[in-house]
């Protein structure tokens, strides 16, 4: 019974002597192999070469600063409550007089930690953030020998200062525009 239109009748005739030498089939197979020598290589030499990510790629988290270099994060806890992996923890502190150039709002995150072992890079923290303080950049979390190295603290996450180190800031910002 024919199940599909594409089914072929299998030829079950015994091979002739010439066919049993496989000469023609070997030549055919080699031709396919050789043709790939002249085609574009689909692989790249990572890590010397890297691919460009799509604009919506979700990689390592960055804690953003505004144009004056003040931290955007107010430790509102919405990223932590949105996080399905419960990877984010934080502790807030009150901004003191004289710290206005460091933090944008009267409350700021004194401690901010992301457990990259738990993080699933879903980007819900970025979506939940009302202050554009956290976003997922276009780099990945580098490999590490110990588990300890995957607990990212505020110093690891904070974007470079836009006025003191504009080059590193632009690099960390990636393709995303500053929205504040």
């Amino acid at each position: 019974m024919q199940l599909t239109q594409r089914s072929k009748q299998v030829d079950r005739k015994p091979m002739t002597w010439l066919e049993s030498l496989y000469l023609w089939n070997i030549a055919k197979g080699m031709a396919i192999t050789m043709s790939h020598f002249f085609k574009r290589k689909p692989t790249i030499q990572y890590p010397e070469q890297t691919r460009t990510f799509s604009k919506v790629f979700r990689g390592l988290h960055v804690l953003n600063r505004d144009a004056e270099g003040r931290e955007n994060c107010t430790a509102c806890g919405l990223c932590a409550v949105a996080c399905p992996a419960e990877a984010i923890t934080m502790e807030a502190a009150e901004r003191q007089p004289g710290e206005e150039n460091l933090y944008r709002e009267e409350k700021y995150a004194a401690k901010y930690e992301i457990n990259m072992l738990r993080c699933i890079f879903c980007g819900l923290c970025e979506e939940a953030c009302p202050k554009d303080a956290i976003y997922l950049s276009q780099t990945f979390a580098p490999a590490n020998y110990g588990r300890k190295g995957f607990i990212y603290k505020k110093t690891d996450l904070l974007i470079p200062h836009p006025l003191k180190d504009p080059e590193a800031y632009q690099k960390a910002l990636g393709e995303k525009e500053a929205r504040n």
């Binding site: 806890g77 919405l78 923890t89 009150e94 003191q96 409350k107 930690e113 588990r147």
Partner: protein, 373 residues
């Protein structure tokens, strides 16, 4: 007419709210009648507070439509009425959720309340239990159309326990009623008129009454917040438990807001309308000693977790009926505990500072000190 007046008033008034009929005693306000039915039928109340005499009639968020005034005079009332200040009549028919006029008017009221209210919920400690936040989201007014400069005030210190954010105030007057009716003397009030009016203590006199902390509980927004809880945690990450202690000043029945075993905040117990619960017919106000000074778990007798509506963000912690799983590894391994590849508590910087021991908000210095140790 004279005969009619002589007739005895019917024992109970029959009123219909959103097609639900209920019998209430004469003299009940529409809002309280609706609260007896409960659920979505109840209009929101930002300024009315059942335990405070004279409150209500200021915020206009409880507006309802009266489609039939009474059985004797079934004409509809021409304008929407404030349900907290309007008493029911026999045969009154009221529309709350079923009236488009009410919904429209209420959305407008919310927008007016939010005109000068800063949208700083990420910073505000009231977020998550804020009635104005709920009201705004219920009416789809979480954004703002207001393009002008908001009314701002100079920051004012009104004592070591209470933080006043005048910018957030919606002038509901609840806190002044608390000071008038519960504490011995009122040292704060509403100054100036109209757009300039503000809650203030005259000549910045500190509020040191024993029951002044209840102003925090009655404030529907984040204008009056607990300084001992300020910025310590978000409300929805804390675990509310009912507790009590023997207090000679107040009823001693409170809700503790815990993080682990740390008592971060103490408030009076709230009922489903966000108002302080009644105990033996009296509102369960708590004194400042219970609220601000007893921040240790051993000061209290724990009764059990507080029932929180599952629609509230506070219930996201799923602390109700929580049972710790039995540790079986040690049993199987003959008493040896499992070897951890990484103990998060050794590495994490969070939870190193005992926030409940701090008298006020944590500052950068608190955390730096810890790091140096």
């Amino acid at each position: 007419m004279a005969d009619e007046i002589k007739q005895e008033a019917p024992k109970n008034f029959k009123v219909t709210i959103d097609n639900i009929t209920i019998e209430v005693t004469p003299g009940t306000s529409i809002l309280n009648a609706a609260r007896q039915i409960g659920g979505d039928v109840t209009p929101p109340a930002m300024c009315y507070y059942s335990s405070l005499k004279g409150s209500g009639g200021k915020c206009r968020s409880c507006l309802v439509e009266v489609s039939a005034g009474s059985a004797a005079d079934p004409r509809p009332m021409p304008k929407l009425v404030a349900s907290c200040r309007t008493n029911v009549m026999d045969g009154m028919v009221i529309k709350n959720m079923t009236s488009d006029r009410v919904k429209d008017a209420r959305a407008g009221v919310v927008e007016f309340l939010l005109l000068n209210h800063p949208l700083d919920c990420p910073v505000c400690d009231q977020a998550g239990e804020c009635h104005l936040q709920d009201l705004g989201y219920e009416h789809g007014k979480e954004g703002t159309r207001y393009e002008f400069k908001r009314r701002t005030f100079e920051k004012e210190d009104i004592g070591p326990y209470i933080q006043l954010h005048m910018n957030r105030c919606i002038l509901c007057y609840r806190c002044t009623f608390v000071a008038d009716q519960i504490t011995n003397q009122r040292v704060h009030g509403v100054l100036d008129r109209g757009d300039h009016s503000e809650i203030s203590t005259y000549i910045s006199k500190a509020i040191d009454n024993d029951f002044s902390g209840n102003m925090i509980d009655v404030c529907p927004v984040g204008a009056l917040t607990d300084k001992t809880f300020r910025f310590k945690n978000r409300v929805w990450f804390t675990k509310p438990v009912d507790a009590h202690r023997d207090c000679d000043k107040c009823c001693g029945k409170v809700t503790l807001w815990n993080r682990g075993d740390d008592v971060l905040r103490v408030t009076s117990r709230k009922n489903e309308w966000g108002e302080v619960q009644q105990f033996d017919g009296k509102p369960g106000w708590i004194c400042n000693e219970c609220r601000f000074d007893k921040k240790h778990i051993n000061d209290w007798t724990i009764e059990g977790p507080t029932q929180i509506s599952r629609h509230s963000v506070i219930s996201q912690g799923h602390y109700l009926g929580l049972q710790k799983p039995k540790e079986t590894v040690a049993e199987v391994m003959g008493g040896r505990s499992p070897k951890l590849l990484m103990d998060i508590h050794d590495i994490s910087d969070v939870n190193t500072v005992d926030l409940s021991a701090l008298p006020g908000p944590a500052t950068g210095a608190n955390f730096e000190k810890k790091e140096q140790q």
